[in-house]
Symmetry: C2
């Protein structure tokens, strides 16, 4: 059984994983998921990226938006708004159960890792899902208005601000489980997630970038940028605002020290020589995951790229 | 404006209050509500009697069952059950908002009194609603299986156990607000609630029984027992099991030291002389609150009984 560790953000990573489990033994797959966009709403601990991975793999995600539960209702939040609670972060009734359960366990002393392990078991998932850290690492975004919390930038202000700087605080360490999953893996995949706010916080965890750099021969990154645009979210705008080339090549430069191979979309094949010039093996594939077949095909291409 | 304080349990008291607000100025009414059946479910603080009063006065209660929200869904709890959380205490999605909001505020340092004041304001209610205590007073029930928590007896085991003894622990004090509402009231009503597990815990609060005894001339109690049966719940079974006569007279004996007047149902008029013999003014009324008109009529009769 091939052991595959996947560094994950939310929607893009979850879709990649949902293809991967069809082409390899899911028991060998470990998702190491960003926690820096976790936040508290209504006093409940919300882990957006972990939940997107859980819901997607369990087949209960709202496929249209890519996150949240399908067949969802919002009765609790309607009432919370009546009591004056902020409701700009939309939480459905089924989704709330996840946050209520997680918060109860965290308050009783469980680690986030423990909580997620219980949830993936309850949902019948074979993929191991690990928070990258059990510490409260949080993404902060500097805008023209100063430093704001990630969800304020991402959801409340709808990514309308130009991002001038990012930081992850406090400094945090990966869990021992996440760290050893990388050491033990035959292949490490950097999923097609936002390099700055999904993968960035994972790489910023103590020792993580060095560990990947030392093992870069087994690391393959997948570009979340196709034809100069992000498949979803603010990745392209962030590349430009933070001084990077807005292309798959710009992403490849960010990962050049930690990855040995780079998968970019077929429509970006012109960029492959420049990626190779960075010292990365460049491979092209259809990276837009429209359906189950394209997800599986991408997963196969990524595993092949890692194995060459 | 007449100041009326009402000692309250759940459904019976809430229905009484919903009539009272139609016959007196609601701004003069203070509900002092039992908290000894509060409990924690899914890590959330649930106050069943307070919520029944809030929901009933706000017109959003499920009238058929007398508690909970009408037009309710149970999506969150279905998912909580999937995560292995107990679901014998049914909490709907709209209802959960109350518990989520309350729990967040309590954890941030607010008192239960503060929380309820915010809620009744948000719901547009003019009646003042006060938890009898802000301390964690809890009803414990001794059954053939030993001491169990009140909600285990009441909901989980569906009041099937014979009640051998009750205690309220730890010893608790009324809030300063509840205490002064009684001192300041022109009339104190003991609502038609369970004398043992709704009114009993309020009377057990430090100094409460003595304060009422000293003011008994202005206190009127309403029998929750009609024709030897409880209108709702286990009051009749408890009367018998705890060695009392199962009748309105049995209830009158329990309240004889703290009330000056006693309202019993017209069908129990034969018991009036025996109630008077206890030193209570006995008044009869139609005490079964089938609809808005009968609720108002009972409220009027109770206020009249207090004013004689």
């Amino acid at each position: 059984m091939r052991r595959i560790a996947v560094l994950c953000g939310g929607v893009g990573a979850a879709r990649f994983l949902s293809g991967l489990v069809h082409v390899v033994d899911p028991s060998g797959v470990t998702a190491i998921v960003n926690v820096a966009d976790d936040d508290e709403f209504h006093g409940l601990h919300v882990s957006p990226d972990i939940d997107t991975v859980l819901y997607t793999l369990a087949g209960v995600v709202d496929e249209t938006q890519g996150w949240g539960r399908r067949d969802e209702t919002f009765h609790a939040q309607e009432e919370l708004a009546r009591f004056g609670e902020d409701s700009w972060f939309r939480l459905g009734d089924r989704d709330l159960a996840t946050h209520i359960h997680r918060t109860r366990l965290l308050r009783s002393g469980a680690s986030l890792t423990d909580v997620v392990e219980g949830m993936r078991t309850a949902l019948g998932l074979r993929v191991r899902i690990l928070p990258a850290s059990d510490e409260p690492q949080r993404t902060m975004v500097r805008t023209a208005d100063g430093w704001i919390a990630f969800q304020d930038y991402f959801v409340k202000r709808r990514t309308a601000d130009e991002v001038r700087e990012l930081r992850f605080e406090p400094a945090a360490a990966p869990t021992i489980h996440a760290r050893s999953a990388i050491d033990d893996a035959d292949v490490v995949v950097i999923a097609p997630s936002n390099p700055f706010v999904s993968i960035g916080p994972i790489l910023a965890l103590a020792g993580m970038r060095d560990a990947l750099a030392a093992a870069r021969a087994k690391v393959v990154a997948v570009s979340p940028i196709v034809g100069g645009a992000a498949i979803k979210g603010p990745a392209a705008a962030m590349l430009g605002a933070l001084g990077h080339e807005v292309s798959a090549l710009g992403v490849a430069r960010i990962y050049a020290d930690v990855a040995g191979a780079f998968v970019l979309d077929e429509q970006d094949r012109d960029l492959a020589p420049a990626v190779e010039a960075l010292g990365l093996r460049a491979r092209t594939a259809a990276t837009i995951m429209r359906d189950a077949a394209s997800r599986s095909a991408l997963a196969r291409a990524v595993i092949d790229a890692a194995s060459e």
